[in-house]
Structures are given as C-alpha cells and as structure tokens.
C-alpha cells in the first residue's frame, strides 16, 4: 500500500491531510463505545465538508457533524442519542433541510456491516436476508432483491461500501498504526479494511514490543493505517474499556442543549469551535468529572503464554 512508516501526527494535521471535502467517512464503527469524537470535532473545527458519513448506531457524533452543516448524505443504521432517543440536528436536517439538506440511505446494523465487509474484500456486493420485508429494502437503492441461483431463495444483494476515510478510536497503537482493542468492537475491523485511508486516535501510543506481546489483541494492522494520533479521552463521552466509562450526563445535557437550533449552535461553540483542541476539551471537563469516569473496579486479564 506504500503507507508511511512513522505515522504519528497531531490530530489537526492528520485530519487536514486525510479528510477532504466530498469524502465519505466511516466513524463510530464500534456502536456506543470507542466513538472518535475527538476526530469528529476536529473535522467540525476545520469545517471540512460536505461529507457522506457511514455508521451503524452512531450516537451523537453524526448529529454533531450534521449540526455543523458539513454532512450531505448519511449511510447508517441509526442516527440519534442512545440515552434519550432523538438526534435533533438530524431531525431538522431531514425534516426542514437545515442547516443543509440531508440524504439518508437507511441500513440495518447487519446490512451496513455486510456492505463494508464486501468493500473490504473488493467485491461489488454482499448477500443478506435482512432487512427483506422492510421499507429500507425498497427505498434504499443499495438493496436489490434477487433469487439465489443455488437455492431459489429470495435474498438481498447489498451494494458494497468503500469509504474514503475511516476514523477509529482504540486503546493503544504503536507508531506504525498497529491497533489493539479489547472490548466489543462492532464493525471497526470491516470499516478499517474497506476504507482507502484510516485515521487512528488512541488513548496511548505504545512501543511496538507491547503490541507483539499480545498480537491476538491487534484488531487493525498498521498496513491499513495512515495516521496515529495519541488523544487521551478521545472518545469521551463514549466508553473505552480499561480507561473510562460512559458519561451519560453529557448525552442528557446534549439532548437538552440541541432541542432548539440556536442553542445547538451555542453548544457547538462551547464544546467544539470555542476550544483549541482535545486538551482544552479535557481541561473543560475538569478533573473531578474525569475521575468519576475512570476505572474504579479493576479487572485485569490473565497474562498469556505466547512462547515456544
């Protein structure tokens, strides 16, 4: 692939180099955990759009980027706020075309995973059974039903999706972008494999020897990765196993603050545009709040023998 060896960059530089107007961007691929909020906020700060966003259950990351007026199309299974339901910026964009009109190609969680998996394999389509019978299957042109030539069954041909960029957040990575994740990872692997470029944010950049001590933990190999950015708390308010848990209050506050469009702009100014970067965001959260989210019930795994 000819990707650079030392990929460590600042997040602002990585975003400006890897995300371009018109791109399709996969994000929030692990569902409620590991959401790359720091990268999403940096895209908002840099005003990069219009974008197509690709996601499963995305929680509020997509809603925030829609509110910033940077999204023209969403290919996703669910857009909203997992703690409260509705994503108000999403609703306003679909219902009223503000701040800009939004096209939505609706998927289920499984079908969007299969679309990326086909993309990862270099195939034009995946085969699925769900969501046959749904309105999605008739409205979204990425679904075509067909008769299986082997069994005669009615199935769905799901068009492959190959995003331009995947934004992923992981616990740790080395300088070459070998990413280790523990915890349920949704379709992080498929998103990274299907995308032309991969931007990794991680809680910690570790020595390559740490990766090699437990290679089974490597979810995304460095050969796929273009940039590695060490961004502690980069997924807050989403949980990252072993580092911090869900900050539910943040999601509740976001819902209250975004019901009204003017207040939604004020939220973006307060939490994104008005901050210089993730360090300022973390400082704004304050140490007491961060402390309350950190691991308080330690549960380390047992070491494994990889020797011979």
């Amino acid at each position: 692939m000819g990707k650079a060896r030392d990929k460590v960059k600042s997040l602002s530089r990585a975003v400006s180099e890897l995300v371009r107007p018109g791109d399709s961007v996969a994000l929030s691929a692990a569902l409620e955990g590991f959401i790359p909020y720091a990268s999403a906020h940096e895209i908002i700060r840099q005003g990069i759009g219009p974008l197509t966003l690709v996601a499963p259950i995305s929680n509020i990351s997509i809603d925030q980027m829609i509110g910033a007026g940077l999204v023209e199309r969403v290919i996703a299974a669910w857009v909203g706020n997992v703690s409260t339901g509705i994503g108000y910026n999403f609703r306003r964009a679909v219902e009223h075309g503000t701040p800009r009109p939004l096209e939505v190609l609706d998927h289920s969680n499984f079908s969007i995973t299969l679309a990326l998996e086909a993309g990862a394999r270099g195939l034009p389509m995946a085969v699925g059974r769900s969501p046959l019978g749904s309105t999605m299957a008739t409205e979204n042109p990425q679904f075509k039903s067909f008769t299986c030539p082997h069994s005669g069954q009615r199935l769905l041909a799901i068009q492959a999706v190959n995003p331009d960029v995947a934004l992923i957040h992981v616990q740790r990575a080395d300088k070459e972008g070998n990413c280790q994740v523990w915890g349920a990872a949704g379709f992080t692997k498929q998103a990274a494999m299907a995308s032309r470029r991969v931007l990794v944010t991680c809680e910690e950049i570790v020595d390559s020897e740490v990766i090699r001590r437990d290679p089974d933990r490597t979810l995304v190999p460095g050969l796929l990765v273009d940039a590695v950015c060490e961004v502690p708390w980069g997924a807050h308010p989403a949980p990252v196993q072993g580092y911090y848990d869900l900050d539910n209050q943040y999601y509740l506050d976001y819902a209250a603050a975004t019901r009204d469009p003017d207040q939604a702009q004020a939220w973006q100014e307060e939490w994104v545009d008005g901050l210089s970067g993730r360090e300022a965001y973390v400082a704004k959260l304050g140490s007491a709040r961060l402390q309350g989210l950190m691991v308080s019930h330690s549960r380390p795994s047992a070491p494994l023998e990889y020797g011979w």
């Binding site: 857009v79 499984f110 995973t113 019978g133 549960r299």
Partner: protein
C-alpha cells in the same frame, strides 16, 4: 401489593417470556432490564447477545445505560464484533429477540424510521439499528411499546422491522424463512398474534378492555380467555431497581 410503574410491569411481563436456556438478542432500555431480571430469577441459563459483539451469561455487575458500557463487557463470555453476533442471529441460533419502536401495527410491523403527522408533516426517527435484523432473523420476537393510539396504528407509515404482514404467507414471500412477532407487550396489556394479527391476550392489573380499545388505533379483537398480568413481586421490583437505580428507563 407493592407500588410499581408501567415500565416495571412491562419489564416483568417481558422477563417471564424468556425461557431458561434461551439465547436472547438483548436490546437496550426495557428489554435489557427484562433480560437482567430473567437471569436473576427463572432463567439463570439464558445467554444474552448484544449487537456490538458482547456475549454474556451473567447480568452486568453494575447498572448500564448502553451495551458498550464497561460493566457490560467485564465478565462477558466473549467480546467480538457485530458480524459475529449477527451471524449467530442469521444462522438461526437466536431463540428470542426484543425490539421497541415508535409505531406498531396490527400485523406487528414496527416503525422506527418516519411517522406522518396529522398535518401531513414528517417526523424523522433514528432508524433501524439492529431492530430489522432481529425482526427478520430471530426465531421469536417480542415487541415492547408504550400503549398510545398514535403508536398502535392500523398500518405503520414505514416498515422498519417486518412483522407478519397483511396476509398469511407474507413473510415467506418476502424471503423471511423464520420468526415473526410472538407478543406485543404494552403499558396496558399483552397482545398475541394468532394467524398473524394482533389479538388482546392479557390486561395489566386495573386496566379495562375499554381503556385498551380507546388507546388502540386498530379495531380491537380479544382472546376468549383474557388473562391478567401478574403484578411484579417484591423480589422482581428489587432486582429491576438494582439495575435501574435512578429509574432512568422505568420511571
């Protein structure tokens, strides 16, 4: 008699439909509480799958809001990806799935995409998530929803999660080879789906048939033997409140 909320009786009614040993595709909110409750009472061998990739056979060690929360991963049996748990579902290894939604119709089709307002305006809802996958692929489906006339409609405005469809054999024609709604549990009672159409099978304590008819958008038909949902026991309420201490879901 203990005082309980509508959410709590929905959770207990749902939990009682989880059989011991069932492989359950667990949703969030009330279904998650129902799974936790069943595990702690009559179904200790039930196994829970979560679409982000969690397989667990024990309740989470602390209250959770989303399936990605740290206590839902700690102590799990297996943490993998969405593709793997969905493959278990697609392969026919999931006995029971739960979904909720904004609208349900008399055939058990569920809508979480888009509702048409009386003035013709459109309300955009979040979408499927894994709901459509569960409704298409689980052997048994339980639908949980607040009982309001605007939610229990004759025909949904958008089919997110396919139910039985308007005539027998509809599911098979779509290509769906198994499953279909087994019950609709609401804040007022329980419907079953004989011949694929909703029929009131039970009422929660203190709820009248007239009250249900009033809050139901389709022409109500009732089972000849209407049951009364057992009230949550003190033990059940204690367990639910342990997993939802702030009444985040059951208020």
């Amino acid at each position: 008699m203990s005082a309980y909320t509508q959410g709590e009786i929905m959770v207990t009614a749902a939990a009682r439909r989880i059989n011991d040993g069932d492989v359950v595709f667990v949703g969030m909110r009330l279904p998650l509480l129902a799974f936790m409750l069943a595990k702690q009472t009559h179904a200790p061998r039930a196994l829970g799958l979560f679409e982000n990739g969690v397989l667990r056979d024990r309740p989470a060690a602390a209250p959770i809001i989303t399936m990605g929360d740290a206590p839902n991963q700690a102590g799990a049996l297996c943490l993998r990806g969405l593709d793997e748990v969905m493959s278990l579902l697609s392969g026919g290894r999931v006995d029971l799935g739960f979904i909720g939604g904004a609208q349900v119709d008399q055939w058990g089709n569920v809508n979480t995409h888009r509702a048409i307002k009386p003035d013709g305006g459109v309300v955009r809802l979040p979408g499927s998530g894994g709901g459509a996958d569960i409704a298409c692929l689980a052997h048994r489906l339980l639908i949980i929803m607040n009982h309001e006339r605007r939610r229990l409609v004759p025909q949904v405005d958008y089919i997110t999660s396919p139910g039985w469809g308007p005539y027998p054999g509809w599911r098979g024609e779509q290509g769906l080879t198994r499953g279909g709604p087994a019950a609709l549990i609401t804040s007022l009672g329980v419907f079953s789906f004989p011949q694929g159409r909703a029929e009131l099978a039970g009422l929660h304590p203190g709820v009248s048939r007239e009250q249900v008819a009033q809050a139901t958008g389709w022409e109500l038909t009732c089972s000849s033997s209407l049951e009364t949902t057992p009230e949550p026991t003190t033990e059940e309420l204690e367990i639910i409140r342990r997993f939802d201490p702030k009444r985040f879901w059951t208020a």
